[in-house]
C-alpha cells in the first residue's frame, strides 16, 4: 500500500493549499454578488412590458444556460484577446462565473417575484403605489423568503464550480492542488485534501443555510396566528383525544 497518512495531513494544512481555499472562497463570494445582482436585473427585464427588454433578457438566459461554463471561461480568457479585449485571469474568472450565475439566478428571482400573489399586486396598486413602491414595500420583502433556499443552493454550487477556473490558471483550490501534485507525486493524497476542503466549505455553508432558512421560514409575526383556530383545534382534538372530545 502506497497511501501515506503522513503526507496527507501535511498537505491538508499546508499554507499553499490554504491559500487556494481562501481564493476559492472570495472568488465564489464576488461572483455570487455580481451574478445575483445581474440576475435580478435580468428578471425585471424578463417581466417588463417592453418587448425589447424581454427579448434581450430571454436571449441572454438562453445563451448562458445553454452553453457550458467551461467553454465560456475559455472564450473569455483565451478567445477575447483576438478581438483586442485582454482580460487578466482573475477578471476573466469573475466575469465568466458571474455572467453564468446571472442567467440561472434570473429565473430564480423571477419565480420568487411571481410567487407573490396577484392580490398583493392589486392591493398595492389600489393604494396608489408606483411600480418601484410596490416592489420595494410589498413584493420584494415577500419574494425574498421564497428566493432564500434556492439562493443557498446556488452558492453551494458556486463554491464547487469555481474549480473550473483552474483551467485558465486561476490560483484557486484545485489549481493549487494540481501544482502540489505535480511537485510531490502524491496524487491521491493531494486531491483528497482538495476534496475535503471543498466538503468543509459546503458543509459550513450548509449550516449557515439551515439557519437562514429557519429564519425566513417562520410565519410572519410571532408564533401562533391563523384565523380563529377552529381548524387547528379540530385537528388537535381529533388526533389526540378522538373526535368525541370535540363536543366538550
Amino acid at each position: 500500500m502506497n497511501w501515506s497518512w503522513d503526507h496527507f495531513f501535511r498537505y491538508l494544512f499546508s499554507p499553499f493549499l490554504m491559500e487556494g481555499v481562501v481564493n476559492t472562497v472570495w472568488l465564489a463570494i464576488v461572483a455570487m454578488i455580481i451574478g445575483v445582482s445581474l440576475g435580478v436585473v435580468l428578471a425585471f427585464m424578463r417581466m417588463s412590458k417592453s418587448r425589447v427588454l424581454r427579448f434581450v433578457s430571454g436571449l441572454y438566459i438562453w445563451l448562458w444556460r445553454g452553453t457550458p461554463l467551461l467553454v465560456q471561461l475559455i472564450i473569455i480568457y483565451t478567445g477575447l484577446p483576438q478581438l483586442g479585449l485582454r482580460l487578466g485571469v482573475i477578471e476573466s474568472a469573475i466575469l465568466a462565473l458571474s455572467l453564468h450565475e446571472g442567467a440561472y439566478f434570473a429565473e430564480i428571482a423571477r419565480s420568487g417575484i411571481m410567487s407573490v400573489g396577484k392580490g398583493q399586486e392589486d392591493a398595492s396598486r389600489a393604494l396608489g403605489m408606483t411600480w418601484w413602491q410596490r416592489m420595494r414595500i410589498v413584493i420584494i420583502p415577500q419574494a425574498t423568503r421564497i428566493i432564500i433556499p434556492p439562493l443557498g443552493n446556488q452558492f453551494n454550487l458556486m463554491l464547487k464550480t469555481t474549480s473550473l477556473a483552474s483551467v485558465i490558471s486561476m490560483e484557486e483550490l484545485l489549481r493549487h492542488a494540481q501544482q502540489l501534485a505535480q511537485i510531490e507525486f502524491r496524487v491521491l493524497e493531494v486531491y483528497f485534501c482538495a476534496a475535503i476542503w471543498y466538503l468543509f466549505l459546503t458543509t459550513l455553508w450548509g449550516q449557515v443555510q439551515i439557519r437562514l432558512e429557519a429564519h425566513y421560514d417562520r410565519p410572519f409575526g410571532p408564533a401562533g396566528g391563523g384565523g380563529s383556530e377552529k381548524t387547528t383545534r379540530q385537528k388537535v382534538l381529533d388526533k389526540f383525544r378522538g373526535p368525541a372530545a370535540s363536543q366538550a
Partner: protein, 275 residues
C-alpha cells in the same frame, strides 16, 4: 339552516339624502378579455355621498367594472371620470386620448379606496403598518400623526387592540375590517368594495357589513359589488343588476326588490330568495 342572514345594526333608516355632484362617471365603457366581451358600453353615474350596490351572478362583469374604475384593468373603449380625473388617460392633441404612465395612474388611484374579496393585507407587516405604510411612504405624511389616525380608524372598525398583530393572526372578518381601515387611511373620496364578504364565514359577514353601513352613514361615496341583499336594503341608494356585461336594472332598493323591471332581476331575486 335558520337565521343565517346577518343581523345588521341599522341605526337610522336611510332617508332620502341630498346627493352631491357626480363623482364617478362611467361612459360607454367596453372591455374584453382575449376577445370575449365582458363589458358592453356600460354607463353609470355615481354622485357624491351615494351608495350604489352592484349585483349580478358571477361572470356578469360587475367586478370587472369596479376594477376598471380603479384602473386595475385597462378599458378598451369609453371613458371613466372619477374624482376629477380622466382615469388612465389624459387629453392629448386634437382631443386624442393618451395613456398615462404607471406613476400618473398611481396618483389618480390615491383618491379611490378599494377593498377586495380576499382582503390582500400585506402579511409581512403588522396591522398598524398595513394602515400607515401608504400615507407615510407614498404621500410622505407625518409618521406620528398617521399612527394616531390609524389607531382611530382601528377603533372605528372595532379592532383597537389589534394594532400590533400580523394579518395571519386575525380572522377573515377582522382582516377585512383592517383592509377597510387601510383604504380609509388614504382619505379616499370614493370607496370601491369588490365582494367584501364573499370569502367570509357566515358569522363574520355582519361585522364587516356593519362597518360598511357605518361608513355609508357618514357620507362616504361607495360602489359595492356584493351578493348581500340585506346590505342593499339597509344602505344602498340604488341597486343595480348586471347581466352579461350590461346594467339591466338600476333602481332604489325597495323598487329593485318589489317591482323590478327586468326579467333578469326577477330571475336573480327568485334564486337569491330560494336560499
Amino acid at each position: 339552516m335558520d337565521n343565517v342572514a346577518p343581523k345588521l345594526n341599522v341605526r337610522t333608516p336611510r332617508a332620502a339624502r341630498t346627493l352631491g355632484e357626480p363623482i364617478v362617471v362611467v361612459d360607454r365603457v367596453s372591455k374584453s378579455f382575449h376577445g370575449v366581451g365582458v363589458l358592453h358600453e356600460v354607463s353609470l353615474t355615481v354622485r357624491q355621498g351615494e351608495v350604489v350596490v352592484l349585483a349580478g351572478r358571477s361572470g356578469s362583469g360587475k367586478s370587472t367594472l369596479l376594477r376598471c374604475i380603479d384602473q386595475l384593468e385597462t378599458i378598451d373603449g369609453g371613458t371613466i371620470h372619477a374624482c376629477g380625473h380622466l382615469m388612465g388617460f389624459r387629453e392629448g392633441r386634437g382631443g386624442r386620448r393618451v395613456a398615462l404612465k404607471d406613476r400618473e395612474v398611481a396618483r389618480q388611484r390615491r383618491d379611490l379606496g378599494m377593498v377586495f374579496q380576499s382582503f390582500n393585507l400585506f402579511p409581512h407587516l403588522t396591522v398598524l403598518d398595513n394602515i400607515t405604510v401608504s400615507p407615510v411612504k407614498i404621500m410622505g405624511a407625518d409618521k406620528a400623526a398617521t399612527k394616531v389616525h390609524a389607531r382611530e380608524l382601528l377603533e372605528r372598525v372595532g379592532l383597537p387592540d389589534k394594532a400590533d398583530a400580523y394579518p395571519g393572526q386575525l380572522s377573515g372578518g377582522q382582516q377585512q375590517r383592517v383592509a377597510i381601515a387601510r383604504a380609509l387611511a388614504m382619505k379616499p373620496k370614493v370607496m370601491l368594495f369588490d365582494e367584501p364578504t364573499s370569502a367570509l364565514d357566515p358569522e363574520m359577514i355582519s361585522e364587516v357589513l356593519d362597518v360598511m353601513i357605518d361608513l355609508s352613514q357618514q357620507g362616504m361615496t361607495m360602489i359595492v359589488v356584493t351578493h348581500e341583499m340585506g346590505f342593499a336594503r339597509a344602505a344602498a341608494d340604488r341597486t343595480l343588476l348586471m347581466h352579461d356585461g350590461r346594467i339591466v336594472e338600476d333602481a332604489p332598493p325597495e323598487e329593485f326588490f318589489t317591482s323590478p323591471k327586468s326579467e333578469h332581476t326577477k330571475l336573480f331575486l327568485s334564486k337569491i330568495l330560494q336560499h
